[in-house]
Symmetry: C2
Subunit: 173 residues, 2 copies
């Protein structure tokens, strides 16, 4: 997380887990602490989720692809659009989709309006598997998030991360 997963903590000095940031001096330092905390929360959550039974059948990145496809109104997504949802290189995603196709979970076809492109959609089996794993997954998530944060806090967190994400996506360069 993969992708992983992959990951990156923050800056020049770590906090001990039990030692919350005291007086965040500079704006730069505050931003770094914020990112570190976000990142570490994600790592902790991810560890738990991956350990659950929901991911025996499907690796995390693979599930994410099915999930992205499941939420797409037309049912079809370009491979390069899929790449935005997953923390994977283009080549790795290409092979991942290939594997999913071999397993009968997705279908590929050449994009009608662009001879270079490939469209991907879920098969029936892929949709079923996504739903099944999704249900378990949602339960696991709720059992971790609900005891940690009130509904109001969850709404705040949702709002802040959404704001962060859209800003990052639209950032110049």
């Amino acid at each position: 997380m993969p992708a992983k997963a992959t990951p990156a903590a923050a800056g020049t000095k770590a906090l001990t887990p039990a030692d919350p940031p005291v007086a965040p001096a500079s704006p730069v330092r505050l931003a770094a602490q914020t990112w570190e905390s976000l990142f570490r929360a994600q790592v902790a959550m991810m560890r738990r989720l991956q350990a659950g039974p929901a991911f025996k059948a499907l690796a995390l990145n693979e599930y994410d692809v099915l999930f992205a496809l499941s939420g797409c109104p037309s049912g079809w997504l370009r491979q390069n659009e899929l790449n935005d949802h997953v923390l994977l290189s283009q080549s790795s995603l290409s092979r991942l989709v290939e594997r999913l196709e071999k397993r009968g979970l997705v279908q590929r076809m050449p994009a009608p309006d662009d001879g270079r492109g490939v469209l991907v959609q879920l098969t029936e089996a892929g949709r079923d598997l996504q739903k099944q794993i999704g249900r378990e997954h949602v339960r696991d998530i709720a059992s971790l998030v609900a005891p940690a944060l009130t509904a109001e806090e969850q709404r705040q967190l949702l709002r802040l991360t959404e704001k962060l994400r859209t800003s990052v996506l639209n950032a110049k360069q």
Copy 2:
């Protein structure tokens, strides 16, 4: 997204990016949306950070290990403690540390009080490299986070993610 980082979006139905959650019906659904948003923010941030020049010399997971070691008061960490900071399996971490040692960035020694254990610490070169990358890294982070969230919002986000993380770590089983 190390780290691998992998990753996992949320539940049974996706949101289009431009479509913020309208009326989060059930608590379970709210939790799932919250996690999805957190996760996607992390993916978006991570993509940007990995693209920066700061990670040419060192993969994300490798940096995270140096970072964890840099923040440890005693300077030494057990390998299994390191594992909590990184989204990697135990075996992968073992080999990652081995690589770092070959590159002269960390040092290993048998734990004095536990014949099974291995202690790891930064070498001088490792500390220097961590500091150098850390500085760049912090700048990149700030340039992404600062335009997105006010200082107050960052403090809120820091608090919420910290709360989430400690709760997840302490959750039963």
